[in-house]
Symmetry: C2
Subunit: 401 residues, 2 copies
Amino acid sequence: MFEIIGDGGVTSPKGFTAGATYAGLKTERDTLDLGILFSDIPAVAAATFTQNSVVSPSVIVSRNRLSNDTHRGIVVNSGCANCSVGSQGVLDAEEMISLASKNLDVSPDDLFVASTGMIGVELPMALIRQNIGNIKLDNNSGSDFAKSMMTTDTYHKERAVSFIHDGETVVIGGASKGVGMIHPNMATMLCFISTDANVDKLFLQEVLSDVVNDSFNMIDVDGDQSTNDSVILLANGASETSQINKDSDSADAFKEALSYVCVELAKELVKDGEGAKTLVEVSVEGARTKEDARKSSRAIASSILVKAMVHGKDPNWGRIVMALGSSGIDIEENKIDVFISDIHIVSKGIAIPYYKDAVVSAMADKEVHFKVNLNLGEYSANAWGCDLTEDYVVFNSAYST
Amino acid sequence: MFEIIGDGGVTSPKGFTAGATYAGLKTERDTLDLGILFSDIPAVAAATFTQNSVVSPSVIVSRNRLSNDTHRGIVVNSGCANCSVGSQGVLDAEEMISLASKNLDVSPDDLFVASTGMIGVELPMALIRQNIGNIKLDNNSGSDFAKSMMTTDTYHKERAVSFIHDGETVVIGGASKGVGMIHPNMATMLCFISTDANVDKLFLQEVLSDVVNDSFNMIDVDGDQSTNDSVILLANGASETSQINKDSDSADAFKEALSYVCVELAKELVKDGEGAKTLVEVSVEGARTKEDARKSSRAIASSILVKAMVHGKDPNWGRIVMALGSSGIDIEENKIDVFISDIHIVSKGIAIPYYKDAVVSAMADKEVHFKVNLNLGEYSANAWGCDLTEDYVVFNSAYST
């Protein structure tokens, strides 16, 4: 039970401000590449990070801060991943935090840091030193903050929702970026979420990890996994309502609202996938375990040949079955049902007669839905992918040059 | 110590004949789509098959025959994978064997069967019944046999080598196909190998499994894994030399010669990868274990973003490090060296100054070599991939339509 806040974002919850500036990290002028999200009062934080073993020092610095009791905000840059740059990367991430903390008049321990962009290039600290002071924080700059972390994204991604707790309105807002190097676990992206709910820190982490598992960890653009993924959630309690913990009446409402924000932002990343024109939702039902449903839906959403067939509006369903078989879960081929946008294509593992033009036509939509019923159990999961287009190749064959 | 036989193939070893015909399974007339490889005398066999859990009934039928003591040959069709067609697929595979066995005057138990092409379509048995009798076997039709299994391959792939055993010349020949749905384990392909060596059946299987692990299981075109992969090796002893087993003086020579045939054929599959213009060899050295070297070299060769950068001749080495980090092996980032075609790019995890134009120019070759030294141990492995081009997307977005 939640309400969607039109044009909402990270500054929709009470007590959060944000801002951004152009510091010169991107080559296009008049873009934003350095941003800050700030809570007026101390907030508890939860976070999840990339599982790549090559990790940006920005991630290392943020991960080390997570165990602190409270936090005040996040400083983020695009244009440079601050990755594969040796120990200088940690010094630069710490300095970026230190510069921001002086402007905000808080302790450096209170801030997280995140970076996204080219790997193997040092942060141009002189530009950051020179320009970070230009960031003005206010209630209306959530979108600027969202824009400041864009790399190859074609638009910025924001969502906010509200729900009622203790008879009062509580708000969750989020911003995210990342449309390439996207693959579970976890999707290659940054997402920052703010809420004015008052939430127990342990419960906050538990809910965030669950929600990320069913949202950002279920999307794929290109099978590649980045070095800088971070999802950071700040809960500052500015709604002045009672604490939400695992035993609260509102525990489910909070999780449902957070889940909506994360699933919607995750889907936006895939929709805006490099070169993508079509969002594919893959639902696997009737699995023996939740993990089986997750693994197999992700395998289908990640398959390059499935992505190519979506681009071609080609109901070449053998590729769906091939990807399902590659996922490593136990299946019984003679029980499998496959549907493309609700049209029944395969029954008990065998093609059934269907009107091909109807499927081709259904696949011309901006969003295509593949459903596989394994008919083995009670578990289900959704994963999201996008089509693979010529534009992806053109784009990614000349990124650094 | 082996000699390469120019224009050699599966009929280069003594006692093997082959042939092929057009049966009407492919739409282009004047192509070949049904072939037979035959040993004049009983041969022992070894084989490896796809690890996808959706498996073509042709694979099931062949797998069930592998435990027989001896075999005489293989019947193969392209144009139809005989997969996801229910129990009819087993009946059809058995009938294809039965039809061939009558023509060859051997028992149906003596033959393997393999199919490749579209998934989800039943074998057009009427056409196979009508045309299989047209196959004429002789010593000069190894290339026709190789052509009869081509699907999206642009050329047929054959290799043969000889080595000296007991003072006599022993020959190994092979033919393979498969340029899409290629990913370890195992690469999506068919490969049939003949030898006139007299080899112990257990040793034959052991050597083949090892060699496949370092050849066909180390290549990637698109990350997708097919339902029909088969490598089948027949050893008929027609060289009339003593038996080769694990204790023979020639055990290593046999493995080395077989390895050459399989690695060369595996590289041909990648070179001819759908839309591919460049072969990439990825060598990982200095790994703690062989499995670490295998996993990480494969991860780099399989990365879509690495493939795209090869296409763009773009020395965006951060993607090599990203893929290495995604491979799941333990690394120490500050020990990694990276070389592109022998040019040192990264030292101890950090970019070193290099002349970028020289790297761009080296990457313009038909074959590009990435070397990563983990500097952690003594193990190494090679994997092979190809570039990702617009042509791959164009091609695969309209395959069935």
